[in-house]
């Protein structure tokens, strides 16, 4: 088995006086889509933010492509090839869709072929090209947030609950977009609460509880084992569909 692209070993993160991550061990295989599941407050978002350097780990090791990134500043982590789609989307509301994407393209103007590829699964972005991102709907903002993360090829994409609060039709276009991303062999670490979405896309899965990873395995195993779902997540995937 090849070395994981991203590896967390015994990572602890404190936010103020709160001890959120309590020794996270996680391996994200190269070229796969790994889903991070868990109840609210389990530490999923904190894990992504710690990888991105937005919160500093107080202990443990974060290795990306064999290189320690745990102590690096956020811009350096981004420049190493990781992009991040936060739970809040965080599009720049006063900037147009075009400007948001222009800013995300660090190596000059966005490539037109790449833009066409993105417009293929997010046509709304083409329609609202010159509109301020602030006027977009929640789903369109999420599309822009994902598009911003993939406007240039990246080695790893961290995505935090992309389907949160979205209409079913938008979730379908998100599934299509992530399938496209998977085809491009991009490694993705996806935090998700929507089990149907996770099941449709995930290759491997990790389950968090109380700031630790309590299960690691393939999505196929978890999908097939209702008892395991109930034990790890409180209720089975089937009950969520």
């Amino acid at each position: 088995m090849s070395t994981p692209l991203l590896q967390l070993e015994g990572v602890h993160t404190h936010i103020g006086q709160y001890h959120i991550l309590q020794g996270v061990d996680l391996a994200v295989p190269r070229g796969a889509l790994t889903v991070l599941l868990g109840r609210n407050g389990a530490g999923k978002t904190t894990t992504l933010r710690t990888i991105m350097g937005l919160w500093k780990p107080s202990k443990g090791r974060v290795a990306f492509d064999g290189r320690e990134i745990g102590g690096l500043q956020t811009p350096d982590i981004a420049l190493s090839g990781i992009s991040y789609v936060p739970e809040t989307m965080s599009v720049f509301s006063d900037l147009t869709v075009a400007e948001n994407l222009r800013l995300a393209a660090r190596h000059g103007p966005p490539d037109q072929a790449r833009l066409d590829w993105i417009f293929g699964f997010f046509p709304a972005l083409q329609k609202f090209w010159q509109f301020p991102a602030g006027v977009l709907s929640g789903g369109q903002k999420q599309m822009l947030s994902v598009a911003r993360a993939v406007i240039e090829p990246r080695t790893l994409i961290l995505i935090d609950e992309p389907t949160k609060g979205l209409a079913p039709a938008i979730i379908e276009s998100m599934i299509h977009a992530f399938q496209e991303l998977k085809r491009s062999n991009t490694t993705i670490l996806l935090v998700e609460q929507n089990f149907r979405f996770a099941q449709a896309l995930g290759d491997t899965v990790a389950v968090m509880d109380d700031g630790r990873i309590v299960h690691n395995g393939t999505m196929a195993e978890l999908t097939a084992d209702t008892a395991l779902q109930t034990r790890l997540l409180g209720l089975s995937l089937g009950e969520h569909q």
């Binding site: 956020t74 811009p75 991040y84 936060p86 965080s90 720049f92 660090r106 490539d111 037109q112 417009f119």
Partner: protein, 339 residues
């Protein structure tokens, strides 16, 4: 292929609505003032004077609003750059007295341009040191920022006393900029016209940089969500230092213009005007350059009109204006979207 031309679309697009309402405050206030002033010539003179004053306040305030918007830094020491810029320009004008007192407008303007450049370079350098020594240790700590930057202002004013002396200095206008141009009964002071031109040039340059360059995009995005800009791979700290230096240099430029406007100079020139500067950036919406521009014009109009019609309430009038605007729009006229 690397072109980024806007892709074609055949579907109808929703209409965008620009928020013009705050812009109507300027003609609205001017029209309201006309019957109170009673004399059209005086009204035009006061309005032009307000535009000039507004431009100078805008130049002083524009850097401060970006500094707050980008890094959430409350810099109460901004007045120091206004004062130091004016004093450096005064010193620079000394060896240029031949040009500055010449009857040639060209030589006058050249002397002034050199003095302004010296003031801006000096305050830009001071801003760089101020950010490293005073601001950097207190990022994210508003109370400490207020205390330490106020301390920095006091130290700067005392240093001005040490270097240039504590007495009031005369900052005479060059002969070519004295007097007025007459349009019928309306007298337009030459220096005020120059102030309007300088203010508009600064605004146009800022608008160009903010809207047409990648640095400008980064500043606008950083004002809105600094964390996300960093997550895209950009070092906001470096950007902030650049904005702080540019803002300090602009304060220096504003200080030179303000001192020439008053024709006198004291170490407290920055402290005297800083209250107006803060009112302007609050009215405009913290971090908004367009709002700052509009706020500066409104504040100057209010000061000039009430100074003429109700001199006893002139000092309080801008506080009242700020209260009214914040009651209407609590985030300012053109609030910057925050995460």
């Amino acid at each position: 292929m690397t072109t980024t031309a806007a892709p074609a679309t055949t579907e109808p697009l929703p209409k965008l609505h620009y928020d013009y309402l705050p812009l109507l405050l300027v003609p609205g206030m001017a029209i309201l003032a006309l019957p109170l002033i009673g004399n059209t010539t005086t009204w035009i003179t006061l309005t032009i004077a307000a535009l000039a004053m507004g431009m100078m306040i805008f130049v002083m305030a524009s850097g401060l609003t970006l500094v707050f918007g980008l890094m959430d830094v409350l810099n109460f020491g901004h007045g120091a750059f206004i004062a130091v810029g004016a004093y450096i320009a005064l010193s620079a004008l000394g060896p240029l007295s031949g040009w500055a007192s010449s009857d040639s407008l060209t030589l006058n303007l050249a002397a002034l341009a050199i003095a302004i450049a010296a003031g801006m370079i000096g305050t830009g350098a001071l801003g760089w040191a101020f950010e490293r020594i005073i601001i950097r240790p207190v990022y994210g700590q508003h109370l400490k920022q207020i205390l330490i930057t106020t301390g920095g202002l006091i130290v700067a004013e005392q240093m001005i006393h040490v270097i240039w002396g504590g007495d009031q200095k005369a900052m005479a206008l060059p002969p070519g900029l004295r007097g007025a141009i007459l349009f019928g009964d309306v007298a337009l002071e030459k220096f005020r016209l120059l102030a309007v031109i300088v203010g508009l040039a600064v605004y146009a340059t800022m608008a160009l940089v903010l809207n047409r360059t990648k640095i400008g995009l980064l500043i606008r995005a950083g004002v809105e969500n600094q964390e996300m800009v960093e997550a895209l791979g950009y070092r906001v700290r470096r950007l902030f230092v650049g904005v702080f230096v540019a803002g300090s240099a602009l304060a220096g430029l504003g200080g030179v213009m303000w001192a020439l406007y008053r024709e006198t100079l004291t170490a407290g020139i920055g402290s005297d005007v800083i209250v107006l500067v803060f009112i302007v950036i609050i009215i405009g919406g913290l971090g908004s350059v367009g709002g700052c521009f509009l706020g500066a014009i409104l504040v100057a109009m209010m000061a000039n009109y009430t100074g003429y019609v109700f001199p006893k309430v002139a000092l309080a009038s801008n506080i009242l204006l700020m209260v009214l605007i914040l009651l209407w729009r609590p985030q300012g006229l053109y609030p910057v979207a925050k995460r």
